[in-house]
């Protein structure tokens, strides 16, 4: 086995310096350790060390029933827990051939998009704070709080929702909830203008993000980027449109893409995604059909022997579940999660090469990772 270029500070030249960023660094958004090899203040090479948050969710899933796994998925991308629930439940439904009622599909779409806005708010706040813009952090968290309140009213939890069931949803939306969601959309429309006034044409923000971490479309595809990080490089790939799930085939929305593939374009893509999400939320509320919210589900969740892979567009990228059933036990034989943050983080060494240390924190924010999902 070859010796890696940078590993635990083992090999370095005398004019180069190896420093350790993390795992306890506030701007790494969790417990991420990046070993940087520096020439002055320029990053020559980087090694990303992960696994500090590894809880063995995939192994644990093999020893839990299909329904119990839903609440394990909450603990992966904990800033977008409902999206994980949807991804897992849809995979089991595909495996068992369960038809989900149209109303449940609409409600899932609504919940997923609210979750996307909450996740993007957290991304925007922390990303801007990493670059020194403290105000945006406070603004974005203020709006995220409104979404958390909506979720609390819907399912009683603010972070780990456990808000889906195999075949549908656990409960109806509370009376008056749709009106509150509509009010939130109106508030958010105005707040987006506020965010953009603070950042989009802000000279400091543009200096910090333009031309930083440039990756072209082909390279981004090769390294496995997905979600807004891939679309920032000009690849129009969005699973909501390309492989529609829930009720996205009935929604009208645009897929924004960037041109330059730098941090600024990834920022612009996510800002436009806020607006598209609001558009989808309004359509989902207006067109919400009547009917049951749970399909015909057998009392015992015991899929036939077989395996399937199903992917959805989480706020971070392609979130895939690969589930193998042996057809005779109550728990899955294997649950594999394709975590978008893990695959996106892989591009970090490539992105930060040649940039300054101060840009490292901006780039970690730019690819939008959650360590709970990277390590699982």
């Amino acid at each position: 086995m070859e010796t890696p270029a940078v590993h635990h500070g083992a090999m370095f030249d005398t004019d180069e310096l190896v420093i350790n960023m993390g795992p306890q660094h506030p701007s790494t958004h969790g417990v991420l350790r990046v070993v940087l090899r520096l020439d002055g203040e320029t990053v020559v090479d980087a090694d990303v060390v992960i696994g500090y948050l590894h809880r063995g969710i995939e192994k644990l899933s093999e020893n839990r029933s299909y329904t119990q796994v839903i609440l394990l998925t909450d603990r992966m991308d904990y800033v977008a827990a409902a999206t994980n629930n949807v991804g897992y439940c849809e995979t089991v439904e595909k495996l068992m051939g369960i038809e989900v009622p149209r109303r449940a599909r609409y409600m899932r779409t609504l919940v997923c998009e609210l979750q996307r806005i909450a996740s993007h708010c957290l991304w925007l706040g922390t990303h801007a704070m990493d670059a020194g813009a403290m105000t945006v952090f406070l603004y974005a968290f203020r709006e995220r709080e409104l979404i958390l309140d909506l979720f609390e009213e819907y399912c009683g939890a603010r972070l780990t929702y456990n808000s889906m069931r195999i075949g549908g949803l656990p409960q109806e939306i509370p009376p008056g909830w749709d009106r509150k969601v509509r009010e939130f959309c109106t508030i958010m429309d105005g707040k987006l203008v506020e965010y953009e006034e603070l950042l989009t044409h802000n000279r400091i923000w543009r200096e910090r993000t333009k031309g930083i971490g440039v990756i072209d479309g082909a390279a981004a595809m090769a390294i496995g980027l997905s979600g807004p990080s891939l679309r920032g490089s000009g690849v129009p790939r969005d699973l909501r449109r390309d492989e529609p799930y829930a009720a996205y085939d009935e929604m009208d929305f645009d897929v924004p893409i960037g041109l330059a593939g730098d941090t600024y374009d990834r920022y612009l893509v996510r800002m436009e995604e806020f607006r598209q999400s609001l558009r989808i939320i309004r359509q989902a509320i207006d067109g919400m059909p009547e009917g049951p919210i749970v399909g015909r589900v057998p009392r015992l969740i015991k899929p036939p022997a077989g395996e399937t892979y199903h992917a959805i567009e989480s706020p971070k990228g392609e979130l895939g579940f690969f589930i193998v059933s042996d057809g005779r036990s109550m728990s899955p034989y294997r649950v594999r999660v394709r975590p978008p943050s893990f695959c996106n983080l892989q591009a970090l060494p490539q992105l930060i090469k040649g940039h300054l240390i101060a840009d490292v924190v901006v780039l970690i924010g730019s690819i939008d990772i959650v360590l709970g999902e990277v390590d699982r």
Partner: protein, 197 residues
Amino acid sequence: MPDHPPTLAPPGGPADQPPPADLSAPRFLVSLQAAVPDAVVALSHFVGDWTAIVAPARLLDVVGWLATAPEAAFDWCSDITATDWPPRPERFDVIYCLYSTRHRHRIRVKARVRDDEAIASVTGVWPAANWLEREVFDMFGIRFSGHPDLRRILMPDDWQGHPQRKDYPLEGPGELLLENPIDWLTLRQSRDEADIE
């Protein structure tokens, strides 16, 4: 002591349902079988997903064709993972989930490998495979020949064993097992007895 229900023998392998007779395989799969003869061992179709089971020695030929041929154009490696079927001589299935952004179709490629056998790394075809293969190595102990940087990724570097194998205990070996296996067995037995009472 209460009678425990009889434990079932572990399953001997995945179902790998053959495609129904009236369903024809997608065109690129037919072309693949013609372009890389004798590499595809079997085709499987289940809930709409196609899987090509290939001989591990021919894996690079198959994925190389799938990535470059215009009618397949699998330019995006979605996922690489593995499953463990201990009773089978080739106990591992290494599974590649591929996606084509041009045609928007998917395929799974599957190779069966023995415990003592290495499989070719596909990092040369898709650089994205780097970390994914490292995770499979870490979790299952499957070696990828030609991988540029094959070391553990989620578990600590000095970890013993591979956690996703079916014969690896859920609670992990614990420090006691590493230091003193006999004490660990006694402790586990007393715990089991306490559970039964």
